[in-house]
């Protein structure tokens, strides 16, 4: 990451940001009468780490989930890596295999071993041979620090270990973008760090990441950009330094005063 000629937005991590990989224009979403997203427009660039914060009900999780169409948006456009997300199933499946997501509740498959949890999509979506996928699984578990758990079942692991398996499962598809939906909110305090460490390492390696998180330490240390959402809109965004030291909007100041 030495070539510093194309930097427009400064990155706190010091890598260059690449092309725009996520483009959202005026994204709107309703649940019945309730409007969850009221016109969200933003772009995320390759290797950028964006942390979305905001009060509950602000639409941050919904917005994240529209990015791989777990929630279809009703209006506006979302373009991921040049492919528009719409009702065309081929586009949706293409994008889903390029966008990994980690859930708050891990959502590991309880009836499968850790090895099968990770290799399931490799054999059924990527059509890898069993021997190849087994090697890949071992190296991924090595990367998240739990190689010895390969033959266990999810319920035999701690929450932190399960979440790390979930990260490994998403990484197995070699995604271009990783989404994190409050990945540490369901964890006991002593397990949060082990998951954040893995996410930190992932950010260092240059992964494009969009995280909904309440971990302010992580946001300050790792994010290139903090995005503050409330009532279905992006209220304010900026680098961690700008955002935490000199917030512009009153709503942001109020929120920060409540959590810090």
């Amino acid at each position: 990451m030495t070539d510093d000629t194309v930097i427009e937005a400064p990155s706190t991590k010091g890598h260059d940001l690449g092309n725009e990989i996520i483009v959202c224009r005026d994204v709107k979403k309703w649940f019945g009468d309730f409007q969850a997203l009221c016109g969200v427009s933003t772009t995320v660039r390759e290797r950028e780490v964006v942390v979305i914060i905001g009060p509950s009900g602000s639409g941050k999780s919904t917005f994240l989930r529209t990015l791989n169409r777990l929630e279809p948006h009703d209006e506006g456009t979302i373009i991921i890596d040049g492919v528009e997300l719409n009702n065309d199933l081929r586009n949706v499946e293409k994008i889903r295999s390029e966008v990994g997501i980690v859930f708050q509740q891990f959502n590991l498959f309880p009836h499968l071993t850790i090895e099968r949890n990770i290799s399931l999509a490799l054999t059924h979506v990527r059509h890898l041979k069993k021997s190849d996928s087994k090697e890949l699984v071992a190296s991924l578990l090595e990367r998240v620090g739990i190689p010895e758990q390969i033959d266990k079942y999810p319920a035999q692991l701690s929450g932190g270990q399960q979440q790390r398996v979930a990260i490994a499962r998403a990484l197995a598809m070699q995604p271009k973008i990783m989404l994190f939906d409050e990945p540490t909110s369901a964890l006991d305090p002593e397990m949060i760090k082990e998951v954040l460490d893995v996410m930190h390492e992932l950010a260092e390696s240059g992964m494009t990441m969009v995280c909904v998180s309440h971990e302010m330490g992580f946001a300050k240390g790792v994010a290139d950009r903090i995005m503050f959402m409330d009532e279905g809109l992006i209220v304010e965004q900026g680098t961690p330094a700008e955002f935490f030291e000199a917030p512009k909007e009153d709503r942001t100041k109020l929120f920060l005063s409540q959590i810090l």
Binding site: N68, V125, M173
Partner: protein, 418 residues
């Protein structure tokens, strides 16, 4: 803290423990004491009467003399080899399967089956005893033949081959039977030569139950999936089917399958413009069809409960990995849904097994019908109790085996633990 960290209680002599237990559980109050005494007296009386009947009053010759009738009803003796072929084939495939899917620990069910050995010996003689032994030998041979395959790279291929053998064997044995005497007279399956009215006894009961379970289970799963479908036409059809069938008694459905199918499919009919003459549906097949259609609706509702118990996040996790809808269903949702409803499913299977006795209304000679016929023979007039007790024992042995096997299956799949 846990019990382990407490100091161990002092060890008491057994008679003191027994005395304390009795005082706490049987004689804790005057009312309870009376209840205990009355219950003990009544139970003893019942046990004494039962024992007296079984060991003194009853004349078990009716069972011994009618072994053949109980096992196969009026099935012609010359055609018995067909049943033995079926049993040997089943034994061979069971042996293969047990080795190939070896994680299923069947020790307990087998121990139970071994406990029934005196029953077999009482029931079998001559050829039957020898052929039963060769069946067991076939099972063992197949098991050991598959021994080296279990952990080799051929395992997956061997497994899929075995599944296909089951399906093909099942169809070869049973499907042409359905069309007897079919437009391929006498050429089709293993049992095409035997007129359906001559099927009977335990054999008929087991055929109806096995085919009923084997066909209604996948059908029920499909109906449950259809009911959860987002396509209105499929959903409405499945809901209508399930609600209609569940609203009608099984006896009615058996009658309907008999009379309405008879009306619908004439002796001379045509399929896709090809005329078919001499076609008549077998009564056994109609009974099967009735049982299958009935059971499938109940299984569908059981499976639906299982499908609803799978958290939404499981589907999302599958979708997010790029798995298609069918893959999410078969790899993630169904395995979890089915293991959650194993107890209810097995209840339904047991219930189907016992409901086969209703085919007597189609004048088929199943196990229950045999128990009604046998005491009408000269020499055995009036020995209804012996015959009924005997078939009750057979029903119980099979139903209890199914229940034990399902518990073992749950243990092996780790239900409730993961």
């Amino acid at each position: 803290m846990t019990a382990a960290s407490r100091p161990a209680p002092p060890v008491l002599p057994p008679h003191v423990v027994a005395f304390r237990w009795a005082r706490a559980n049987l004689f804790s109050s005057p009312g309870n004491s009376v209840l205990t005494v009355v219950t003990v007296v009544m139970l003893s009386f019942a046990a004494f009467q039962a024992a007296r009947f079984v060991f003194a009053t009853a004349e078990w010759e009716i069972i011994e003399a009618n072994r053949g009738l109980f096992f196969t009803g009026p099935f012609p003796r010359d055609e018995f080899w067909r049943i033995w072929v079926l049993l040997h084939g089943t034994a061979a495939l069971s042996g293969l399967s047990w080795r190939l899917w070896g994680s299923l620990d069947l020790r307990r069910p087998l121990a139970f089956a071994a406990a029934c050995v005196p029953l077999y010996i009482f029931m079998l003689e001559g050829d039957a005893l020898i052929l039963t032994s060769t069946c067991i030998a076939t099972f063992a041979a197949a098991y050991f033949a598959a021994w080296p395959v279990r952990f080799s790279r051929f395992r997956d291929r061997a497994r899929s081959t075995t599944v296909w053998l089951w399906i093909l064997g099942f169809m070869a044995a049973m499907l042409p039977t359905a069309l007897y005497p079919s437009f391929l007279p006498g050429q089709g399956g293993l049992f095409s030569h035997v007129p359906d009215r001559e099927w009977g006894g335990f054999f008929l009961t087991m055929v109806l139950a096995t085919v009923g379970i084997a066909v209604s289970f996948p059908l029920g799963v499909l109906l449950a999936i259809g009911r959860a479908s987002t396509f209105p036409v499929i959903r409405i059809f499945c809901v209508a089917y399930i609600e209609m069938i569940r609203a009608v008694p099984l006896v009615t459905i058996l009658y309907m399958s008999f009379f309405i199918l008879r009306l619908a499919i004439r002796h001379e009919t045509s399929v896709l413009g090809i005329p078919i003459t001499g076609y008549e549906m077998s009564v056994v097949f109609m009974a099967m069809l009735g049982l299958i259609l009935f059971s499938a609706a109940y299984i569908a509702e059981i499976v639906r409960g299982g499908l609803q118990a799978v958290p939404r996040g499981q589907v999302e996790a599958g979708q997010a990995l790029g798995l298609g809808g069918l893959q999410v269903l078969t790899l993630i949702v169904l395995p979890q849904a089915l293991r959650a409803v194993i107890p209810a499913l097995v209840s339904q299977f047991i219930s189907l097994f016992k409901d086969t006795s209703l085919v007597f209304i189609l004048a088929l000679t199943d196990l229950l019908a045999v128990a009604r016929i046998a005491p009408a023979q000269p020499g055995f007039i009036g020995h209804h109790a012996e015959a009924l007790l005997f078939i009750a024992l057979i029903y119980w042995v099979v139903a209890f085996s199914m229940s034990r096997a399902s518990q073992q299956l749950e243990r092996n799949l780790g239900v409730g633990e993961r």
